[in-house]
């Protein structure tokens, strides 16, 4: 405290270290809020999953050297309430609908793909009630064909905080379907 420089820098330093304390408090309390509002066990229902298939030969649809690649796109219904994820340290929630499946020719290969996702930034948008929603992505596999796979769907979320660690979680309620080509009408 012996010179004006030093007084300024001690105040600055100390306020920064108490800033770290504040960050710890924010991270701790917001995590506690998530736990106490049962945010890690939100229920979900997924249904009415209908695939459509298309054959693509572009690199941007997974084709290498012009070999035909089977792409799949979905429509689905989804119901869930994610409002419990929103507290004072939530900047955004990224929700994504993923499917897990095994390889057909090589069963040792595990795959996880995203069919749909959404960025939610406010609490009032966090109640999802989707009917016949179109999937966002054309999805292809490492193998050329995608039909007749056993897909297990689940909804995951990633909470992006204003400060602190990123938090990941999953909703409760998985659905399995086998992808089959709908009969031609």
């Amino acid at each position: 405290m012996y010179s004006i420089n030093q007084r300024f820098s001690t105040v600055a330093n100390q306020s920064l270290s108490y800033g770290l304390l504040i960050i710890a408090i924010i991270v701790g309390t917001s995590y506690y809020q998530l736990q106490s509002s049962n945010a890690f066990n939100n229920l979900i229902t997924i249904g009415n999953i209908n695939p459509t298939f298309a054959i693509r030969t572009s690199r941007y649809y997974g084709s290498t050297n012009g070999k035909p690649k089977e792409n799949v796109k979905l429509t689905f219904d989804l119901d869930t309430d994610l409002t419990s994820l929103f507290n004072w340290n939530t900047k955004q929630v990224f929700v994504y609908l993923v499917a897990e499946y095994k390889g057909q020719k090589h069963p040792a290969i595990s795959n996880t793909v995203t069919f749909w996702d959404k960025i939610i930034t406010t609490k009032k948008d966090a109640i999802l009630h989707l009917v016949n929603e179109k999937g966002k992505y054309n999805v292809w596999d490492l193998e050329d064909k995608f039909q007749n796979r056993d897909l297990e769907f689940s909804l995951h979320w990633n909470l992006q905080p204003w400060v602190g660690p990123l938090i990941y979680g999953e909703t409760v309620g998985n659905t399995s379907i086998v992808l089959t080509k709908p009969e031609k009408k």
Binding site: K91, F94, S110, V113, T114, T121, P165, L166
Partner: protein, 168 residues
């Protein structure tokens, strides 16, 4: 002999520089990533990450999960990219994992960004780290200094002045 005195004074400066650098190296080794702390430079992950936000990376995980935000490097491009994993394919026999990524704020996936007409990234080769922690805005200082020449002069001037007036 004043040589020792001068050497001791120089040593203090040397300690400041070397301990900062070695701390950074230690952190790199701990996180197994050559840059464990990165500053976001593009808006492709908005609104999650804006320019100037600071990200803390971890690279000791063997596999990435879908939804993870990863930092990867593309051959021939100087700036690492921060994007989210859209798909992953891994074999239980070999430890190879293929990843497809996409920026939250981009319309399409990252295939046009990958080098050598590749369709996937490889976890062990291309990934610098997975984002684990976040601190907003603080990195804007470094962006400001690297991109604005007046800022560089201002910073240098400020440092020079404070070393002249200050108590070393």
């Amino acid at each position: 002999m004043n040589l020792r005195l001068e050497l001791t004074k120089l040593l203090n400066l040397c300690f400041v520089l070397s301990s900062t650098f070695m701390m950074w190296k230690g952190l790199s080794i701990f996180a197994n990533s050559h840059s464990p702390i990165v500053v976001v430079l593009s808006g492709s992950m908005e609104p999650a990450f804006q320019r100037g936000d600071i990200l803390f990376l971890w690279n000791r995980n063997v596999e990435s999960k879908v939804g993870d935000i990863v930092v990867y490097e593309v051959e021939g491009k100087p700036i690492p990219i921060v994007h989210r994993v859209l798909r992953e394919h891994h074999s239980e026999k070999t430890n190879k994992q293929f990843l497809l990524t996409k920026g939250d704020n981009n319309a399409g996936n990252d295939i046009p960004l990958y080098a050598n007409r590749k369709v996937y990234l490889q976890k062990d080769k291309d990934i610098v780290g997975t984002v684990k922690g976040y601190f907003p805005l603080l990195g804007y200082v470094t962006i400001w200094v690297t991109e604005n020449k007046y800022a560089k002069f201002a910073l240098l001037g400020f440092l020079g002045l404070s070393s002249l007036l200050g108590d070393e």
